[in-house]
């Protein structure tokens, strides 16, 4: 599955959620980064290696494109899982349920009640969370990330979801 095949809204929402925890400074340019990513994912993830004249010699990449790339199979997995669990086939409804899995309240303390009007979040089971992590890890490895970075990214993605205690 490639990134554009996934539901873009959900995917971006999950990516934002993950970045809120792992690289909040990148959110300031999230829209344009996401736009570039969806326009040419391979060009963003695997740009031509340049030995820039009068450069520094660095190879510093944004986390955002990788989060978006890893989020794609994760969102697909979540859609399938939620649809099966809720016996629900209406896509808007399933998307809404998946959205409630996202741990958006990054600044909300654990156990605190949601604000008025905010829907009660759903939570993944521990087993489901492990499966999400494996999906994310496999994708991260497919992207060519070193093992340690792949693990961190997979953990970040899981950290962006609500998991039942």
């Amino acid at each position: 599955m490639t990134a554009p095949d996934a539901d873009r809204d959900l995917l971006e929402e999950l990516a934002r959620t993950v970045l809120e925890h792992s690289a909040p400074e990148e959110l300031v340019i999230f829209e344009e980064t996401s736009e570039e990513y969806f326009r040419d994912p391979d060009g963003v993830l695997n740009p031509a290696r340049r030995d820039e004249a009068l450069g520094f010699g660095l190879d510093l990449a944004l986390l955002t494109p990788y989060v978006l790339a890893v989020a794609a199979p994760v969102v697909t997995f979540l859609l399938q899982t939620v649809a099966a669990a809720a016996k629900e086939e209406a896509t808007p409804r399933v998307k809404e349920l998946v959205r409630r899995l996202f741990n958006r309240a990054g600044d909300r303390s654990p156990g605190a009640a949601p604000d008025a009007g905010e829907k009660e979040p759903l939570a993944l089971t521990g087993e489901q969370a492990r499966e999400v992590r494996e999906v994310a890890l496999a994708r991260a490895k497919d992207l060519g990330l070193p093992a340690e970075q792949a693990r961190l990214l997979a953990d970040s993605v899981v950290g962006g979801l609500v998991v039942a205690a």
Binding site: I29, E36, A53, L54, G55, F56, L58, A61, L62
Partner: protein
Amino acid sequence: MASSTSGVDPETPAAEPLRPDVLGYPSPTTARYLIFAVALLASGLFIGNFVHNWAFGDRWQATVATCEAEHGGSFVTSLLQNDDFSRCVAGAEATRVAVTVAGAVVVGALAVLLLYVAPLVVVRRRALRPLPDRLGDAQERFAALAADAGLGRRVRPMLGPAGQRDAFSFGAPGRYRVALPPAVAVRFRDAATFDPLVAHELAHVAHRDVALAWLARLVWLALAPVLALPIVVGVLTGDTSILGTYWWRVALLAVVVALLSSELLRSREYGADLRAARLPGGWRTVAGLVRRARSPERSGWRAVLARHPTTEERLSVLEDPAVVTRTGFADGLTGAFLAALTLPLIVATVRPLFAPVDRTALAYVLGAWLLGPLLAGSIGLGLWRAVLVARARGGGVTALPVALGAGLGIVLGQAVSLQQAGLGRAVGLAQPAWLLVSGLAAVGATLVAAGLGHLWAEWAPRLPGVRVAWVAAVLLGSMVFSSLLWSTTVFQTVADLGGWSLARAALMQQPLAPWWMFWLVLCLAVAAALPMAARPPADATVPDWLVEGGGRHPWPAAPSTRLVPALAVGAVAGGTASSALALFRAVQGAAVGPAETYARVLAYDWMVAVVAGTTVAAATMVHRAQGAGTALLAGPVAALVGTVGFLVLSTSLGGSLDWLLFTTFVRPAVVLGFYATLLLGPVVAVVSYAARGRPLPARGSSRLPAALLVAALLAGVMSAGTLAVRSVLVQDAAAAVSSTAGEASAYESEVVPRITGTYTEVSTLAQRIWEDPAADGPARAAAIGSQVVPPLEDLVHELEQRPVGSAEVARMHEEAVTALQAALGRYRVLAASEGTLTRDDVADLQRLQEEEARRWREWGRLRQELATAP
């Protein structure tokens, strides 16, 4: 030869090890960039010349053929004499120069145009955009760092696309940009990433790396298609005559451009890292970021084309900036190669400009003094910086690898220059073996420049600032390298024209031993003497401008050279040569006839010059690295003492003592002594390098006798050797008789310039006096008598005394002497007239003028006959 010991103040020791401030000196790579750009622009000259030959070649050839038929001579002989040929072809040559220069102008204009267009292309192709308002804080941080770097608003940040992972600098002059990768731009609060990265890029701008790198790159971009022109024309017209010598030179140039561009870029990274290390976090902050950098591949062709050094190399420079001052074989090779590549193209272009004023030889001077300073900035400056930094830490530097690189670079550059690609030649390559002489001299010049650097390094604690240090390096290096380029190019041309017989004559006369070279050698001697005479005190400290972050560091003790012992080495060598001269005269007896007398004087001159050159051996054996610099003083001293010895001997044997004899003898002795130093220096350096492990005596008092003994022994051996092979150095009378062509060549180089030069001077002076409205008749006549007649009398007397071998040359010479006697008669009439010419005076003047004109015509005709004789 006493040692220079500097005391260490035990009460104020330095808190930290000395960390040299290497950025005070301009980077030698700046000069290398400039030579690079000049070499590429000069290649445009070649294309201009090609276009000229294509469009106007037939007309030009017809003009040259006509001038040769009417006046004799050629482009090469015009180097040695002032002739009608040069004036005849001046118009056609002016057209050629205009079209040739247009070639370089087109390349330069295209490059400048690209310089302003390229940034727009970069912005578009790399999808760069200004930092959005949401990154206003990043913009502010960038501005603060730019202000710290002294760049203010001249540099603006731009945001790269999501795929950009490294920062880079670009832009047109005065409007520079730094393209930031988004991953860095959003982390502007990360002082361990944003600050050193931006500071590094700003350093590139501050060091003018952006302008230099882009200029070199764009000049090549502009030149490359233009260089294809001869190939395209050749293929289309079927005239492929020059392609065999052309295409591989262009291919080689392309390879050199690629290699050198990458090498220069790698070199500039060190400077950018070091300037960035001036951030509050110091070098460790930059080192932290460098450790995160991608190390370029170090295998195969990728390694030589890499634009960044390896991480290890960068870290080693950050930890110890002295590492960046190391110079080696490649540094000498690239600078010398580019200079030698370019010089023939420049000479061939500017030579016609001097033809109308009879000074075509000035083209060689101009070309050499254009490239000499660049070579000084590239090689000399790097050596001086390396020597100074090493000296401040109590260490030394061997210049031999750089010198060998420079020697090879001069040889290769001349050999592959586009000017040798079948479109005419200004620099000789008919006898490629002579290139080795040029190469050897380049090695010697580099060693001499390094030797001066060693002497001046001793003086560093007394210098007021870094600017004085590097300006001296460039100035003195320019004198050394310009004289090298000039002398080797002219020598090669002369040797091509008339072989060794003409070259040895040119060495003794104005073509290769002019007065300006005499004064240049004396200036270098003074420059060598200054640091010896005013050394720093014993408790000197390393100057502040050489230490990063300040701190009191004692100036390390090391042996150094003192003035009196250096003078003594020269005096002993010169004295030994004088003694050898006296001994030779006593054994051989008096010369028989004027021809042998003249030959002996020339042999003595050679001997004194060679002995002056040998002082480099004595000086190097004692002072090692400082020796080549010390010889710049000891050599001229030896030549002056030898000259005095010759005059004393000559006078004691009944000869007349006059100023003319002194100047005639001392000029080649000093200048050729300098050349001998350049040629002997490499041999001595190799021997010295082989013996580098042997310790020197600690104190000067024990080294002085050894130095004087070595100087005397070498001078004695070389004097005997020079006199033994004098037939190689000086053409004797018998040989002259048997070789009319050789004598004619020597006459052209030795006598003709003297005649035409003096005659032109006195004629101009006489005309000015006679037309001076402020003077009355008697005053004009008196001035003619006192200012015009005496030098002409001296010239006639000198020419009458000159020995001549063959009958043909004697006849030609007689015509010149008679013509000058007629001219002398005219001026005597004017001087005796008291300003009022009688009818008899007018008749005499007319008769003498006609006689003079007839003799000059005959002189020219005979010269032409001899020049064209098989």
